[in-house]
Symmetry: C2
Subunit: 412 residues, 2 copies
Amino acid sequence: MSFFDSRWVERPDYVSELDAGLLPSGFLAGALAAGLKGDGALDVGVLLCMAPSVTSAARFCDSGVLAAPVVLCQTECDLQAIHVVVANSGNANAATGEAGLEQARRVQVGAANALGFEPRQVAVASTGVIGVELPGEQIADALMGVGPRLDGGHAGDFAAAIRTTDAIDKHAALALELSAGTVGLSAQAKGAGMISPHFATMLCFVQTDAAISAERADLLLAGACERSFNRISVDGQLSTNDTVLLLASGASGIEIAPESADEQRFAGALDALLRRLALLIVRDGEGAARIGRIHVTGGAADQTEAVARAIANSPLVKTALHGGDPNWGRIAQAVGATLRGTSPLEFDIQIEGIEVCRRGAATGHDLRRLTEAVKQEEVQYEVNLPGTGSFSECFFSDLSYGYVKINAEYTT
Amino acid sequence: MSFFDSRWVERPDYVSELDAGLLPSGFLAGALAAGLKGDGALDVGVLLCMAPSVTSAARFCDSGVLAAPVVLCQTECDLQAIHVVVANSGNANAATGEAGLEQARRVQVGAANALGFEPRQVAVASTGVIGVELPGEQIADALMGVGPRLDGGHAGDFAAAIRTTDAIDKHAALALELSAGTVGLSAQAKGAGMISPHFATMLCFVQTDAAISAERADLLLAGACERSFNRISVDGQLSTNDTVLLLASGASGIEIAPESADEQRFAGALDALLRRLALLIVRDGEGAARIGRIHVTGGAADQTEAVARAIANSPLVKTALHGGDPNWGRIAQAVGATLRGTSPLEFDIQIEGIEVCRRGAATGHDLRRLTEAVKQEEVQYEVNLPGTGSFSECFFSDLSYGYVKINAEYTT
């Protein structure tokens, strides 16, 4: 089965899939059990790039309650030249104050010492429960023995170590045919819930052996994140820990020049990769079984965006998706609730191409056909607001008994 | 058991409770089965005030997708002198366009003809599925025989006819001791879900036999709604049909003068009545078993309000409330997600008076005591943001399997 198993993401024709455990040249990865998950499971992932010419780029969430590892990365790392990534699951190290920052620093320094780098060359990331102290020394101790465990074929271990409630693997390795030759591109993501502080957070680590300047890497990553991780919602909740890191080793010897045709191809592959990973996070949304895509067109960008988000986050729309319920009135409700004071609003709704509402009023439709359409694994909704020129899309999961079960149970 | 059975609403000492089926003098009510619910259940409620001096006031939601009955009330009714209210359940008559407006008009004209009033003196309200044509003629036909069914002791029938998924009765009758004598005050509400278009909407009809000018009635109703129905959330969704109507018959012969001590007492009773009805809607939130109250203090009104709403609407906070889970990190997450870009944010969190977070960082707390505190039927959360002078409160229900079950099932 192809990694690109969604009608909403196409694999570019110059991209082929490799064994998902492989890393591009210049990278090693591995994982260890530091006792955070408590059952001997892998809970610390380490990624290493030895290439002296490494470049990197990073994106973080902008919560008012940023986790300690995010703050540490933003204030004490050289984010354009990261060589080592240490990511732990089982503890978010968020809302932990100065003490939490010190614990994150211990992990950073521990990895730097173990692998022979400066602390500023080591990025850290965490995911798990909020408000619990991270045992930084314990992780640093475990990191002392990590060197021999690192391998260019161990991306799967790294991916396993950063997962929490994830039920679906979220990593892939690709080969891209560029004009100057072939480069590798791989990524490992975790996330089941845009955020769930129970076991939470979206993390994604991307590697390539192409040579890219830090400035262009930043630009490419920003655009790809905007079209992928920034377009999904499991429960409309923003994490304290979200982190996306791209590292380029340059070890392939192939340089991607700014604004070149190769850069376009690389951007296309990065887009497809992150977009597919984002859809897997939605598909793996806590308790979720189905994905919806809402596509809103209209004249005002702020309106199309707000309406798309409101529909994606509406518990009524999400429970209807869960139940395979053709109750399109809930979409009308979400539109009206977002654009308050605009009545009478002339808007249209189509579900899987079946028009159910035109200019704000119900149209006759084939209920049997609609009922079948909303029972698919992927359901597409379209809303047209007055005007033209703007559009917004959002992918979302259904809201299920499973979500309630996962999130109603006790913290520990 | 007292109607005022919550620590968050006190019954003023000049207020006593009457049989909930009684209406103040000058009012008659009744109900009939017009076939909208389809099983012979009462689905149309009629309220009548014969007093020529009646005054009234109204409040509606401001969705961009307003239901036909709301539009009809706003454009074709004399909202300061309503004599008749016809409210149906089983069909919201929303997103039904011009045809829906015509059907609402048929109900209005039918009631006017049956009871001897002008159409502009008849208000209509609907609740139920969105996007389905209302059989106006069928309701108008049924209304022809409603006269003899109306009675001053039939408020319970009226309340039953407007209920949908409501599991809890939401009506009360009170006697208020004012300086000039005793007046009656009663109300019937429905709502189980701030909105659920499956069977949806918040409606409330209030009656008094005091004499109040339409202008003062409007002012009193606006304030009471702001402190009650505008402070609750079951699922953060805004209805297309919300309607609150206050009718004052003046039949007691007791006039409430503007800015008098009696007006203050009347306002206090109205506040308590609507606030208690609002809490019952939350308590009856689809599938809900428990109520949370979030109280946010700080220096900026827009921040306290946004944070209170975000916490009240967070599916993570609501599932934690459902599960009796002391996971306060979810509240920290909601605070940070609302006040993006403000990190490091110095905020405090108390749950039932137990401090769990101070200046943005976890404090030690007695987990056993906290765990017991969050298992009560009513749970109080407090968040302190930087600054002083502003506060916002919001009441919310838990998110349960029941909510998913009710809302995932098929429309019909």
